[in-house]
């Protein structure tokens, strides 16, 4: 199975393909940091809105897996599930890149 790290995803794939239902997991332990970096990068690059369904809480290094879900890549909405929380990220570029990566994987 071909694996993509975050940088590869961000740099190496083309955008623009809509994919419904892309889910990805990151290894426990690195997941929190990776998700935090993803969110941080996203904020820095696009200033996207990030919405949490639960009261604000930081990724604090707990070894919890993160699941990313993209229902419609063209919307740019990425749902991140961690612990008992859902973080909603709005970034069309990352959503498109993940969708494209998922297509390559398939």
């Amino acid at each position: 199975m071909e694996l993509y790290n975050r940088r590869q995803v961000l740099k190496g794939v083309s955008a623009g393909l809509a994919v419904a239902g892309v889910a990805a997991t990151m290894p426990a332990g690195s997941a929190s940091a990776a998700a935090a970096a993803l969110v941080k990068d996203n904020r820095a690059v696009t200033g996207s809105a990030i919405k949490e369904t639960a009261p604000a809480a930081s990724f604090d290094g707990t070894a919890e897996p993160v699941v990313a879900y993209i229902h419609d890549a063209s919307s740019g909405v990425i749902s991140l599930f961690v612990g008992s929380r859902e973080v909603t990220l709005h970034d069309t570029a990352i959503a498109a890149k993940l969708a494209s990566a998922a297509k390559k994987e398939a």
Binding site: A23, T25, A28, P65, S79, F81, V82, S84, R85, E86
Partner: protein
């Protein structure tokens, strides 16, 4: 069934499938309310070697509304955890299980329980053991003793039990879901040109089947608004609304590195149950999954199904000539205010009798409403309020209440005269029933009231 396998999605997820809900003033402890929520329906007792248990990945909740807004004011939360004591064995147990700490018992389950009220969550207990399933005379030689060990005092007069019980609900599923056939009236049923059916006695489809019960017994003052003991049955604080829900995390992924599922994200509700048989026969198939995911406070969105129940419209068609008055009423398209009151708002004072009400206000919410100031009946009728016993369904629900006959009769028009004096119920209403007069299982006179589960070894001929 009350709510066993009642919707397409939840029928595929039995550990989260709420099957029955009971709430009643405890007959042996009348200053306490007992609430029982059943899950994991239709257990064949011999379903080993992996016998039944609650879902470790499911959040079980029992919710109580005490101010009539349709939202929970008091919530009991239960989470379960399973473990293997003897992982090298394929057996559920490798010797007789004579106590809850038996070294012979392999697959065990424990749980924690908390109570949320006034915005504060209080842990009531943790690492509480469920009893094993009832396996047979060699594995569980004294099951009543094992189960009694699993009744825990939580302090402040509260008790809890979580584990296998005999299903106390009784219903003739095989006939009812064969186009609404009621065996006692089968000779009157339309047969669509097929041979006539003969009338007969009902067949109890849940006979000798088990469920997993969460049973709570708490002081009345745990549940009422402001923690007050109501002054009497007409005290507005006397009525509470009860329902149960099961929730799962929003995302689930098979983690091959751990050889286990990873669940993450917020809890999302996938099952709920207040009044019996609602999602079963009131809510149409296309909306059942949505109903299970929604909250009682939004039930006005389903009110049309209560106002014009499909089964009420079908009865005169399925039993030609037996329900002429109901057919005439159906033709008027008038909403069934009696059904709406019984199931969505509670019954106001004076409708049934001067001293009875279980009304919670104008907010329409499917909740099992219990007036906690009405004492247990000395001579209870399984027909509850319809049978002149206001301590039974639809004032709460006791384990022996014949909710199938009560609701069938109500839908057939028995309760319509309560709100429309000009309506005269058809003569057939008095005999509408699935032909069962009780469960085949013995109930207990004390907590947790549902009977000893049938063991896998027992051979019983239905």
């Amino acid at each position: 069934m009350s709510s066993h396998r009642e919707a397409p999605e939840i029928s595929k997820d039995p550990v989260a499938d709420s099957a029955d809900l009971y709430a009643f003033v405890s007959p042996d402890r009348p200053d306490h309310v007992t609430i029982i929520a059943n899950y994991v329906p239709l257990q064949g007792p011999d379903g080993g070697p992996n016998f039944y248990e609650f879902g470790d990945d499911v959040l079980y909740q029992i919710k109580v509304d005490n101010n009539g807004d349709g939202n929970a004011d008091v919530t009991f939360n239960l989470s379960f955890r399973s473990e293997l004591a003897i992982p090298s064995s394929f057996l559920y147990n490798d010797g007789p299980i004579e106590s809850l700490n038996s070294p012979s018992w392999n697959r065990r389950q424990y749980y924690s329980i908390s109570m949320t009220a006034n915005g504060k969550t209080t842990k009531l207990g943790s690492n509480l053991a469920c009893p094993p399933c009832n396996i047979g005379p060699l594995s569980t030689p004294d099951y009543p003793k094992l189960a009694s060990e699993a009744v825990y005092s939580l302090g402040a007069g509260r008790k809890v039990f979580a584990g296998q019980r005999a299903d106390g609900f009784y219903v003739d599923l095989g006939a009812i879901f064969d186009l609404g056939d009621l065996r006692p009236l089968a000779n009157l049923h339309a047969t669509f040109g097929l041979p006539k059916l003969a009338a007969g006695k009902g067949v109890n489809s849940t006979r000798y089947l088990n469920v997993h019960s969460i049973a709570l017994q708490v002081p009345i003052t745990d549940l009422t608004k402001g923690g007050v003991m109501p002054k009497g049955a007409l005290d507005p604080a006397a009525t509470i609304g009860v329902w149960t829900t099961a929730s799962r995390h929003k995302a689930r992924v098979w983690d091959s590195s751990n050889q286990a599922y990873t669940d993450s994200g917020p809890w999302v509700q996938i099952s709920r149950l207040g009044n019996p048989l609602i999602n079963e026969v009131i809510i149409p198939l296309g909306n059942k999954d949505r109903w299970n995911r929604s909250a009682p406070a939004g039930d006005s969105g389903f009110a049309a199904n209560y106002e014009n129940p499909e089964l009420s419209n079908l009865l005169p068609i399925l039993y030609p000539g037996a329900f002429p008055n109901l057919a005439a009423y159906n033709a008027t398209k008038k909403p069934r205010a009696d059904i709406v009151a019984i199931l969505l708002t509670g019954i106001p004072t004076g409708v049934v009798s001067p001293g009875f009400q279980n009304y919670t206000g104008t907010v329409q919410a499917d909740q099992l409403r219990l007036n906690v100031a009405i004492p247990p009946a000395s001579k209870p009728s399984p027909l509850g309020v319809v049978g002149g016993d206001v301590a039974g369904f639809p004032n709460g629900r006791r384990v022996f209440d014949d909710v199938v006959s009560i609701e069938l009769r109500a839908l057939a028009g028995a309760t319509l005269p309560l709100v429309d004096k000009s309506f005269k119920a058809d003569g057939a209403v008095g005999v509408v029933s699935d032909g069962l007069d009780g469960s085949d299982e013995a109930y207990l006179s004390v907590f947790p009231y549902l009977g000893v589960p049938t063991s896998g070894y027992e051979v019983r001929v239905a």
